[in-house]
Amino acid sequence: MTSALLEANNLVRIYQIRRGLFGKPTPVRAVNGVSIKLMPGETLGIVGESGSGKSTLGRMLLGIDPAQSGEVKFEGKPMAPPGTAEWRALRARMQFVYQDPLAALDRRLTIATQIGEPLNIHKLIPKEHRAARVEELMSAVGLRRDQAGRFPHELSGGQRQRAVIARALASRPRLLVCDEPVSALDVSIQAQVVNMLRDLQEQNRIAMIFISHDLKVVRNIADRVAVMYLGQIVEEASSDVIFHSPRHPYTEALVSSVPVPGKILEGRRILQGEPPNPAKRPSGCAFHPRCPLASDICRTSAPDLRSIGNGRTAACHLVPGETAPVAA
């Protein structure tokens, strides 16, 4: 059995949020005990609504956002503390792709310069080979050679995101964490970038964490999907299974809320209420105020994430478990 590339155990991130100029700071658990395991070359999709903690989790996996407790292991070893030289060296092997490519790129530098930047920072290859490598990267993400000298504002949104991805690939990472990488793109361009990501990932065996609110895109790109609600994973399964037969009522509602072209609204399960404020976490199961199936136990006791068979896990009192909880 191969060992996991990335393993996170019981990650917790607490922000101090002050309500109003005069209020006392209250702790908000953005990520509340999340464990994740990612095999080499695998893609894990993380879906959830705003406030689910999915973006915070993504940053924590790379050490950009510090964890209050829990640990992240990369290639079997605990990750070096952020800011240290070891951590920076490690960062060459784990890259981050943000939603907004324009913000991620320096508007005063040409894209070729920026794509080559990681090569310079990490001194990965001899100087004389850098130009060739940049060219190779550009063609891998589908940028034309004549676009090398362009500045970010001279490119379209899709081309910019390609440049960002090329830069992320420059250091030949083993892990790519993508936070809503295609959400700002038009449908036709989105499909181009999604296909490109899939190809690159398969060719180079890069593992990927793909964070998105768009279930359709996640289903298409991820092998496994974790659904987050209010800082916790509520269900995890392979991407074919989870969207086809969701078990957690929240996953079910999410899947049902995706509008399908040509289908009429009727018969869909529309979830009532808003995602709750992370600062005012409901008692028991955090989802119970919106859950159509909630019973007494849901209001008082929080369900553990446990195995429900066939490699799936779910955190719901109403879904029969297989064995003891998986997340200790």
Binding site: Y15, G20, L21, F22
Partner: protein, 308 residues
């Protein structure tokens, strides 16, 4: 709310304290009042007597403690030159200064803000370009140049307005204009850019889309949002009501605080200079405090700001 005001007040007191301390030290290091007051040819024992009388023979820190103590008991010292209470001297001059600065402030508000708003609503028009040009002209020309220019035109060449003194209301026209032009320019620029930003916001489109009259969109929906940056500048102007007239009062020989400050510095009249600086620091700090409170009133989002 109370905690907020208290912390701000504490900070304000500390700022004033720092200014006072700085002024105290610098003034004492920059020249000997005895020499200046008594003149160069006075015998040494007269100088020593003067120093002893004013406590200048004591070590600096003893003088400083005595000074701080007296401030807390409301005693701002006595003018070395006029032998009267420094505070009284200063207070006597305040009305004269306000006679210039208040009308000037009013002019800045009444001309600067509408000009800026008008320019923002008619971007790229002739009027907009005119406003920008005049604004740059207004705040790049130093007030002493502006003052002398106005004197040259209206007093020397045209002979319609007096060039100095405080005898009639006519005398206040040139200094008031001199003082307000820079501020008009600054306010016009800031109001213009604040309005341009706000007019591009989605909620302005919403206001138009619901059928509001154009004037209601501008005055009811846009201006309240543009107010925060404008208030910042206005607060600064209010803060300099007392200190802002130094140059202009000197040019037009206007007997206000500014003139008093210049004369007192020249004479090393320590108590008076310190008293004026304290007063200036206090107005600055208070107007800052008021601006901070106004922010919350103007923008409800700042009342509920989430801090990390």
């Amino acid at each position: 709310m109370i905690r907020f005001v208290l912390t701000r007040l504490l900070r304000a007191v500390m700022t004033i304290f720092a200014v006072v301390t700085f002024a105290f030290v610098v003034l004492r290091m920059s020249g000997d009042p005895a020499q200046v007051m008594l003149g160069p040819d006075v015998p040494q024992d007269a100088v020593d007597a003067f120093r002893k009388a004013w406590g200048l023979d004591q070590p600096l820190w003893v003088q400083y403690l005595a000074y701080i103590k007296s401030i807390f008991s409301g005693d701002f010292g006595v003018s070395m030159r006029d032998k009267v209470s420094a505070l009284q001297l200063v207070l006597e001059r305040i009305p004269a200064t306000l006679q210039l600065t208040l009308p000037a402030l009013l002019l800045k508000l009444l001309i600067g803000i509408p000009a800026g708003v008008y320019a923002a609503l008619h971007r790229q028009s002739f009027a907009d370009r005119g406003v920008i040009l005049l604004a740059i002209f207004g705040f790049t020309i130093p007030s002493f140049v502006m003052g002398l220019l106005l004197v040259l035109i209206f007093s020397v060449i045209l002979g319609v307005l007096p060039s100095g003194g405080q005898d009639t209301w006519m005398h206040s026209i040139l200094p008031t204009i001199t003082m307000s032009i820079g501020g008009i320019g600054i306010l016009a620029r800031f109001s213009r850019s604040a309005m341009i930003e706000v007019m591009g916001q989605p909620y302005i489109r919403t206001a138009s889309a619901k059928g509001l009259k154009w004037s209601d969109v501008v005055w009811g929906h846009a201006l309240p949002n543009a107010a925060v940056p404008i208030v910042t500048i206005v607060g600064f102007m209010v803060g300099s009501l007392i200190a802002g007239a130094v140059v202009v009062e000197s040019i037009f020989s206007w007997p206000g605080i500014g003139r008093l400050l210049v004369v007192s510095v020249t004479n090393r009249d320590l108590a008076v200079v310190q008293c004026i600086l304290l007063m200036i620091a206090a107005t600055m700090v208070i107007s800052n405090l008021v601006v901070d409170l106004l922010y919350g009133w103007l923008d409800p989002r700042l009342r509920a700001q989430t801090a990390h």
